[in-house]
Symmetry: C2
Subunit: 472 residues, 2 copies
Amino acid sequence: MSTRQNDTNSVTQTNADDVTAALTDVLGPECVLCGEDIGERYFTNYGEAAGVRPLAVLRPRSVDEVSRALVICSAFAQPVVPQGGMTGLAGGAAPAAGEVVLSLERLSGVEEIDRHAATVTAWAGTTLQTIQEAVVDAGFTLGLDLGARGSCQIGGNVATNAGGNRVVRYGTTREQVLGLEVVLADGTVLSSLNKMLKNNAGYDLRQLFVGSEGTLGVVTRVVLRMHPRLAAPSTALCMTKDFQATLDLLHATRAALPDLLSFEAMWPAFYTFVAAHTPDVRAPQLVDGSFPVLLECAGSDAEETAVRFNATLERWLESELVVDAVVAQNAAEAQTFWTIREGLAIDSLPDLINFDVGVPHGGMEAFVVACERALKARWPDAHVFFFGHLGDSNLHLCVSAPYAQGESAHDVEAVVYEQVSDAGGCISAEHGIGVHKRAWLHCSRSREEIEAMHRLKRAFDPLDILNPGKVI
Amino acid sequence: MSTRQNDTNSVTQTNADDVTAALTDVLGPECVLCGEDIGERYFTNYGEAAGVRPLAVLRPRSVDEVSRALVICSAFAQPVVPQGGMTGLAGGAAPAAGEVVLSLERLSGVEEIDRHAATVTAWAGTTLQTIQEAVVDAGFTLGLDLGARGSCQIGGNVATNAGGNRVVRYGTTREQVLGLEVVLADGTVLSSLNKMLKNNAGYDLRQLFVGSEGTLGVVTRVVLRMHPRLAAPSTALCMTKDFQATLDLLHATRAALPDLLSFEAMWPAFYTFVAAHTPDVRAPQLVDGSFPVLLECAGSDAEETAVRFNATLERWLESELVVDAVVAQNAAEAQTFWTIREGLAIDSLPDLINFDVGVPHGGMEAFVVACERALKARWPDAHVFFFGHLGDSNLHLCVSAPYAQGESAHDVEAVVYEQVSDAGGCISAEHGIGVHKRAWLHCSRSREEIEAMHRLKRAFDPLDILNPGKVI
């Protein structure tokens, strides 16, 4: 055993029994699950059918154990899938047959809140919500928020560069990460737990690992910025006369309301369908032909925010930048607007495919029209809905198409991604590539870009053991 | 010639005449300067004595010419120093003997302003000020501003991840860069001219090149975000009772004034010295023992900003968070505050060394005390001044020490960087490593981090021809 453990350069014939024996030897049996002991949650993505049971599940209790596990896996050239809360939407944390899952769930908890530096340090397996609560208790706000907050883990948020509803204010996860501790494929622990807002001492290594979906290293610890505490938000459903006016509203909002928190657009067909199919929700009536936008602001003083918010909306109503606006009178009304925006009613449509694309604002309207036309030309009865984080040039697109014999989701994807490519957009704005979108990466990345990604992969994981077959 | 040009894998014996002949052959004589034709500005850093004349200066007119030049340099394993406005403070763009300078000065101009996407695309050799003016003309604001704006070039700003006075509001250059075009050492053109705020389609390659000081690739074109237009700012010189109160003020400002643009701290000794030695400037009198801070806010409406700014200052004066505040009544008064903050009076001190360090806020006060004590223990007559971008945990530190026989700047640096290391700080917050700080990189980066930087370097520049001897 000990010779193998030290012999990280030799790639021996993978032998399932030898690998699990070696891992058990180093981590102890309580940290290695095999066979029927492996629960379905370790191989089933959120919202998907059960996947393939992995060879083993490792549950290390320390960074050192993560490192030792990866030394073993390197020695055996054993593929490893780092795993967080399994809430990803691109299949990036699902194992293939024969792979070993490296769950970070036991590296959990908030390690430190530094009020002076305005930072929170947490272990990778901590749920986003746990961190959010600790940050609020300390009198601050976390810049990151998304629907899966109760289940997703911060290590996964970092690995996928998660977005969410507050990007227009705070940026993505990348902009929240000040420091990072990562274990490389060969077991090297790269500890860069920086707390400073600026650090130009050499290459900014953390950037490599944010958004690389566990293919370049395993995130074990994270230092995140904290932002000033937010008081209760002001929320409104605004209606503009068309998409162009909505873009104008976005620019006007950015200028006039520095405490803007969310700017969420819903194309009329989306709004109408969800409003009609969401029980117990009284959605405001859409002014004929208008384009609805959910606007939310929050600052340090709820009253001050509300005064500015309402005065600004009145000005916009007068200038007809906004044709109608319903301001939430309380948290329950605001929740109604968010319930519509979340659009769960759409989930019940058959053969649903959810896309997460980015399109530059200038070409977004043409993209929406062309994409819908191309889809309906082939599937005339398809439901096609658009909504999303307009402030971040991020569109979610839901397609429910009754496939003909022999057709599949792949055919729908081909139509959508061709349009994305034509519009100079990206095939994933926030969910990542994982396995689901890997075949389409060329639609928004050039041959040279993909080759440069391979250079990075070879430099940090020459044996291709970290989440192989994901991203590139 | 043509065989050599295509034979990028062979590393031939470098021969100065062969290299310049091959480069001249491909670029044309009007793009290659040699010998006495090379002006001093191509080998002399801003504020430093003249350096070493390089072998040649290349002045390509297109991305294709940059690529072809690098193919030749690769074939000859010829070291290349990418060069912008030569305003860097770490010697990162200065050539060594026998090196070839690759000046981006002819790749100049704003290529496109996209109002919908709120982006500006510019060639690497464009001065920052030219871009700022184009952005203002379009009704927006650029997030980046620094003193060298009239001379520095955006390619250099990106390569060094420049900071400046607005980082507390907009982040560093990294946060402004949406898209990037880079030529790799082997001549590959990596064009990622993304305009979207979010793009998770594979690894975020642009992050590699921002802040890598021309050692991983040559920046040729940049897409930057534009922010909403700023109206006239409100500016004040605030005095707090001590450093701790200044940190409290920072947190209070971030929460209460979302249109904060700058938060610049000056330690009392700095302020007093500069105020006394800057002719034609009437600096406000410092309240005894107090700590001065330059505060500036700007939003879309000057009146609205001023009202909030003044009301907030009054509240802070009442609560004694601020013990005195002088609000600039016009642009000239604001300029007075900035003139003091810029502290040019210090430049006349003998043997001056300027540091650009980062220290986490919690340890900053102790660092300042310990650093000054250590310096004065060895050089009792030294002048030691601290000031900087406190909002970014970035301290500038100026030391003028009368060296004894045999001592040098290196001895002063050793004392300061030991303190930085002890404080968990970084040896460069915004100026970069270049050549000047390369020997000290280990003071704020671990062995594992530096080794990871070498992995990147080997992956993207295996022949070590791009700015060799810089950063790592």
